[in-house]
């Protein structure tokens, strides 16, 4: 057997008191798709970053083609043919899509001007392959998070790498875009490119990966042939025990209507009407750019409402700002935890209590003891794994950052929750915890709207599912009757497929 293309031997890395990696072993064969899996905080991103030169290991060796390699910087890695798609999508928001691709890109012909025309010509094929349907001249900051993910993919493709590390590349992609990525992965593989694939989505692992290396607490547990194992086995390796997948909860009787939208129209939405009941989990499905996040933005006072009406607990609601919406009892968990959610330099505890400080103060002074005691149960409920509550959010793994954000809204405890992809980047075990929490919210009489890129999860969690396409509501399904296929069909259709209410002639 040929020498592995990329190999990590006995790699260790500590961040302060936390051992992110302990003698981790990893080896990538030429032309294989190799999954890297493990719970939140297991060290997957750290290993990927070490291989890509953006984090320096404390100990251990990296070998390329069997030869010891010095990868001291991302540029070194690029020179050695290693590309990476970071989990946290570090793009330059004030540069255009094209500029984001060519900046620091060794494959962009040197000496060529970065004139928009040259950049366009260079980027077009990669944008097409990645399926990002926007000009190369658009500002990266104006892309949705799903589109940013596609941009990161295009950038990695453009580097002509021999090995591409993909850290949760589909965490914000809806099925069609993910599907395209799988096609792309197969193509790359045929060309002999190796891929490291980090994901929490089991079905993806089984569809695209050849082998899988499981990390637990920074140690390599085992590397397995994917064809010779099953999801249960992999999950057992990941968490070290058997995992109970929570069954779909029995149907609760719905309460009164808590939120009602009628003919809601904003910049993106067109004439959207729905009702949300207490004790109901209402799913929102749609492709990237279908308006599912904009629905939250309209309800939360972020987008101006152009026409239509919203009623909250029976009284009209015209939220002028998120602050206003929160005061009225709507909470929105934003899709992009880095841009819209967390204060990265502030501690876990400060991040969690930010929206509820008014309840934890006396004469403007924060009551720290109350802060800690309020957070305790939520931290346990979420199984938050962090060095300490005083450590900055930036030092947490992606999934645990997501949990901190969720903690903020659980503490606020509004009447209506709009959860925009709350399980983004969350491991299989923790995902069950979050779904249990959502069930609990519904049982407590809250109205919950749940956006997710993962249809199986919507089907499991929701009572009803709204499907949006191009800003319009195209269908409303009872979750018991819907299937992934019917939802996909409605999500890709552009006309209203909803049965028109029968109008009785007076």
């Amino acid at each position: 057997m040929a020498a592995p293309l990329l190999e990590a031997r006995d790699v260790s890395k500590r961040f302060g008191g936390v051992a992110a990696l302990r003698h981790a072993q990893f080896s990538l064969r030429p032309g294989e798709v190799h999954a890297l899996i493990g719970e939140n905080g297991a060290g997957k991103s750290t290993l990927a970053k070490i291989l890509a030169g953006s984090v320096k290991p404390d100990a251990g060796r990296i070998l390329i083609d069997g030869q010891p390699a010095a990868i001291a910087s991302p540029l070194d890695a690029q020179r050695l043919g290693i590309g990476i798609i970071y989990q946290e999508l570090d793009l330059f928001p004030h540069l255009t899509v094209g500029e984001n691709i060519v900046i620091g890109n060794l494959c962009f012909p040197e000496g060529r001007l970065t004139s928009p025309r040259n950049v366009d010509a260079f980027c077009r094929p990669f944008l097409e392959q990645a399926g990002l349907e926007c000009g190369a001249r658009r500002m990266a900051g104006s892309l949705s998070i799903g589109e940013r993910q596609l941009l990161a993919i295009a950038r990695a493709l453009s580097m002509n790498a021999r090995a591409i590390l993909m850290d949760e590349p589909t965490s914000s992609l809806f099925d069609d875009a993910a599907e395209r990525l799988f096609g792309l992965i197969r193509e790359l593989k045929d060309r002999g490119v190796s891929i490291v694939y980090v994901s929490h989505k089991m079905d993806e692992i089984f569809r695209v990966c050849d082998r899988a290396t499981v990390l637990r607490d920074g140690e390599t547990v085992e590397t397995v042939e994917v064809a010779a194992t099953n999801a249960g086995e992999i999950i057992r390796l990941m968490v070290g025990r058997n995992l109970q997948i929570a069954a779909r909860p029995y149907r609760r009787p719905l309460g009164e209507v808590v939120l009602e939208a009628h003919g809601l129209t904003s910049g993106k939405l067109k004439d959207v009407s729905f009702q949300l009941h207490r004790s109901e989990v209402l799913g929102v499905a749609g492709l990237v750019g279908s308006g599912r996040s904009e629905l939250g933005a309209a309800l939360f006072g972020l987008d101006r409402i152009r026409a239509g009406a919203i009623h909250l607990r029976g009284s009209p609601l015209q939220p002028a700002s998120p602050r206003d919406a929160i005061r009225r009892g709507i909470g929105l968990l934003p899709e992009d935890r880095r841009l819209e959610g967390l204060m990265m330099r502030m501690s876990v505890i400060e991040n969690s209590t930010l929206a509820v400080l008014a309840r934890m103060q006396k004469l403007g002074f924060i009551r720290r003891r109350q802060e800690i005691s309020a957070l305790g149960p939520v931290v346990r409920q979420l199984a938050l794994n962090c060095p300490s509550l005083a450590s900055p959010a930036a030092s947490l793994s992606g999934g645990n950052q997501q949990k901190v954000l969720l903690a903020r809204w659980l503490l606020l405890d509004p009447d209506v929750f709009f959860l925009d992809d709350p399980t983004r980047g969350i491991d299989v075990g923790a995902k069950q915890d979050i779904y249990r929490i959502i069930d609990g919210l519904a049982a407590a009489g809250k109205g919950v709207m749940l956006v997710s890129s993962e249809l199986p999860d919507l089907l499991r969690c929701c009572d009803r599912i709204l499907v949006l396409s191009n800003g319009r509501l195209t269908a409303v399904y009872d979750a018991k009757e819907a299937t992934q296929e019917t939802i996909m069909a409605s999500a890709t259709s552009f006309g209203p497929h909803m049965r028109k209410p029968v109008k009785d002639a007076p």
Binding site: G17, L302, S321, L342, M343, M346, E350, A355, L357, F365
Partner: protein
């Protein structure tokens, strides 16, 4: 952890400079080191007090990711107004009896309040324009730095308003407010208050959150506009108060006072570990930063170093301090 390290760094820098200052200090005739004489040490504290006070509020401004270039002009308008109120409104009265002294105190108090109120208001306007019109703080405060300076010069017809040494209100005011104990005490009180404000209150938490990630702060429903208006008002308030102390110390209201103070204040904040991008920093850091600048100046002056050379040395110190902090602040 990182926080501790960084604070330890600037403390280490301060101790280093202190040791150096002691070592190279000239020796007095009785064999003691002049740098260590109580008179000299309190002189240092008095000299840094004005910039120190301004730097406290500047820390808040920079924490929100903003900047306040107008502090020097705000100091000038306040110092001018203080002197004008004391010399023009109550010019020649001299006070001796107890009752009259009470009247005197109330005159002085009103003059101070008026001056500080005007600069606070100007700060509030800065904040309101920045948050309502969404113009960059640099531009807005640059404009008010120019405009307010103009106002101060116009009000005083571009003349210094001298406070005499007689027995009138103005002179009494100066006699009280130029005492070392009052100046240093004011700085100490302001520092304590602002430390508590940042570390213990909801307002302080909001300030840091907005600087760390303003968009996320909006999503979390924080009062962004209100917080910014308060922050710039506080900057006006402290600059105004520094202006009052300036009038007493220099025995005059000088519309040209405080030029380039904003730069010294910003330098103190930055040396103290608050990056200009905001989100991270502390009042204790700013105090250490202010002390570093003060001790350095004193040390060089005691050695009779040319003031131009002094500026060059300070320039190096600023860059060094930030370079050292910059390294561990990225990831």
């Amino acid at each position: 952890m990182l926080d501790l390290l960084r604070r330890a760094q600037s403390l280490a820098a301060l101790s280093g400079i202190l040791v150096l200052a002691i070592l190279i200090s000239p020796v007095a005739s009785d064999g003691s080191r002049i740098f260590l004489q109580p008179g000299n040490l309190t002189d240092i504290l008095r000299q840094i007090s004005l910039i120190g006070i301004i730097a406290l509020a500047m820390t808040f401004v920079i924490l929100t990711g903003g900047i306040d270039l107008s502090v020097g002009s705000l100091l000038a308008i306040s110092t001018t107004l203080t002197a004008m109120a004391l010399t023009r409104a109550w010019p020649h009265a001299s006070y001796t009896s107890h009752i009259l002294r009470a009247i005197l105190a109330s005159h002085i108090l009103r003059a101070i309040l008026a001056a500080v109120a005007v600069s606070t208001l100007a700060g509030a306007v800065n904040g309101a324009v920045i948050s309502a019109l969404r113009i960059q703080p640099f531009i807005v405060t640059l404009a008010s730095m120019i405009g307010v300076r103009g106002l101060a010069k116009w009000l005083s017809s571009n003349e210094n308003i001298d406070i005499g040494f007689g027995r009138d209100v103005a002179a009494e005011f100066a006699a009280v407010f130029r005492q070392k104990a009052i100046v240093i005490g004011s700085y100490a009180c302001a520092a304590a208050l602002f430390w508590i404000l940042l570390a213990r209150t909801v307002f302080g938490r909001h300030v840091r959150a907005i600087g760390d990630n303003e968009k996320a702060a909006e999503y979390a429903g924080l009062p962004i506009r209100g917080t910014k208006i308060w922050v710039y008002s506080l900057s006006g308030l402290l600059s105004g108060f520094a202006g009052v102390l300036y009038a007493a110390e220099n025995h005059q209201g000088n519309p040209n006072a405080g030029v380039a103070y904003e730069l010294d204040a910003i330098a103190a904040v930055v040396i103290g570990g608050t990056p200009l991008t905001g989100g991270k920093g502390s009042i204790s850091g700013t105090i250490v930063g202010t002390l570093i600048m003060g001790v350095l100046t004193n040390m060089l002056r005691l050695k009779n170093v040319d003031s131009n050379v002094e500026m060059m040395i300070k320039a190096v110190i600023i860059v060094l301090a930030v370079a050292v902090q910059g390294r561990d602040s990225d990831k």
